[in-house]
């Protein structure tokens, strides 16, 4: 992995995470993360959109003109999302019924146009596709974690409705944690999404600070060791 690829990966998954740092695309993020499977479904759809839109935008980057680049990006993204929506409706109909209204909303996920404009329109195709993949993955991971947390706290289950995504065989995947757990309504309702996301951001920031302090300490130690 070259240096560039390494930094793209780190950027997408952690340093510049779409949901935790850029705080983009919060509308679908907060709305669908009631369960882990819903989060996973929208995460994958967004991921595919990001990879495809970044790739297309990068391919055509020499043929657009600065004055009309944004409308062209919007056209491309809207076409891709519509195509994905149709395909989900055709092949993952049950999941489509759950996520239905949020799929068109991917168009309004600012992270997609942001990556097209800020990255894909200035970089080569492969690198742009990788950027889309990593940004999408970072976003999907947050959707999954937040969905999982809200599902455990709100309903006391995990992987509920897995059969919507993986076929009837996956129905047995659903874990019920504690027989007499009646659920904690707040986690399922929209405020739970905001609180959950806030906590995730807080965790990320404190991990970052811990890492920073550790590196700082290590530098000080090596510095003093050198003096001696």
């Amino acid at each position: 992995m070259t240096n560039e690829q390494h930094s793209i990966t780190k950027d997408g998954l952690w340093t510049n995470n779409v949901a935790l740092v850029q705080l983009l695309g919060l509308c679908p993020l907060l709305a669908v993360t009631g369960t882990l499977i819903n989060g996973l479904g929208l995460g994958i759809a967004t991921l595919i959109t990001l990879v495809l839109s970044n790739t297309f935008v990068s391919i055509i980057r020499h043929w657009t003109r600065p004055e009309v680049r944004i409308p062209i990006f919007v056209l491309i993204i809207a076409s891709i999302v519509t195509a994905i929506e149709l395909m989900m409706n055709a092949w993952f109909h049950e999941l489509y019924l759950v996520l239905g209204i949020f799929i068109p909303l991917i168009v309004t996920n600012c992270s997609i146009i942001a990556r097209a404009e800020a990255f894909a329109s200035r970089n080569k195709v492969i690198v742009s596709a990788l950027d889309g993949l990593m940004m999408g993955l970072g976003f999907a991971l947050v959707l999954i974690v937040l969905g999982g947390l809200r599902e455990i706290i709100g309903q006391g289950t995990l992987f509920a409705n897995a059969e919507l995504m993986f076929g009837p065989a996956a129905a047995g995947l659903t874990l019920t944690l504690g027989e007499n757990y009646h659920g904690f309504l707040l986690a399922v309702l929209p405020p739970g999404a905001f609180i959950g996301l806030g906590l995730l951001i807080a965790v990320k920031n404190s991990v970052d600070r811990y890492l920073k302090q550790r590196t700082a300490n290590v530098t000080i130690h090596t510095a003093s060791a050198n003096e001696i």
């Binding site: 009631g34 055509i60 043929w63 657009t64 003109r65 004055e67 009309v68 409308p71 062209i72 056209l75 491309i76 809207a78 076409s79 891709i80 519509t82 195509a83 149709l86 395909m87 409706n89 055709a90 092949w91 109909h93 019924l97 709100g154 659920g183 309504l185 399922v188 309702l189």
Partner: protein
């Protein structure tokens, strides 16, 4: 002159990409339309079959439909479609779409299956926005409450008892949610009244042959 050229280029560019985008969507649409139609019909039939077991009728439920004009008893403000079940051409039951306009958080959309004798074959909630964990117990997957309607009719319980217990009737409410069950009980009762008034016209003019190719369940 240069400006003209620039304007022309951008216009051509935009048109070009609009055509490419439209072609992409059009192509996907053409390739998925059959599967999507099939899915929608299948989902609908599965919903209908939870109310009316497939063994109870032998006609094509999705083909034998009737358009119902908007009616306050059904709570509908647009035309709705009712599905008619028959066995050896004798009417068995009808599935009506009813709307409870006074849920806690907007309208609750119901499918109400009524047997030809006026008793309920079953009720299901199709769409609602009630509070998760409280009002959503009207969903079959959340609780068995909605199944209590099966077998009930206008005379069972008595008209005065067609209310939730809180209002002195026969139907349970949920802890923390009275408005939702009250709305559903009222809507089901009105649907039964509608059926009583229109029973004979509802089953007229079998339509299994028309639209047959539109509604066949082949992928």
């Amino acid at each position: 002159m240069n400006l003209h050229k620039q304007v022309a280029t951008t216009a051509v560019l935009l048109t070009l990409f609009a055509i490419i985008g439209a072609a992409l969507v059009g192509l996907t649409h053409d390739n998925t339309i059959d599967a999507i139609k099939y899915n929608e019909q299948l989902t609908l039939l599965r919903n209908l079959n939870t109310i009316l077991p497939a063994s109870d009728y032998d006609n094509d439920l999705l083909a034998d439909t009737i358009q119902l004009a908007p009616d306050p008893l059904l709570g509908t403000d647009l035309e709705s479609i009712a599905y008619r079940a028959r066995k050896q051409d004798n009417p068995v039951a009808i599935v009506l779409s009813a709307i409870a306009p006074n849920g806690y958080n907007g309208s609750i959309y119901l499918l109400v299956g009524i047997k030809y004798d006026g008793s309920l074959a079953g009720v299901r909630v199709v769409k609602h926005r009630e509070t998760p964990g409280l009002g959503d117990a009207v969903e079959e997957r959340r609780s068995d409450w909605i199944l209590d309607f099966t077998g009930k009719s206008l005379s069972n319980p008595k008209p005065k008892q067609w209310k939730v217990k809180r209002d002195g009737g026969d139907f349970d409410q949920f802890t923390g949610a009275t408005i939702t069950p009250r709305a559903v009980v009222n809507a089901v009762h009105s649907a039964l009244l509608y059926f009583e008034q229109h029973r004979e016209t509802l089953f007229k003019n079998k339509t299994s042959e028309t639209n047959a190719n539109k509604n066949t369940l082949a992928p």
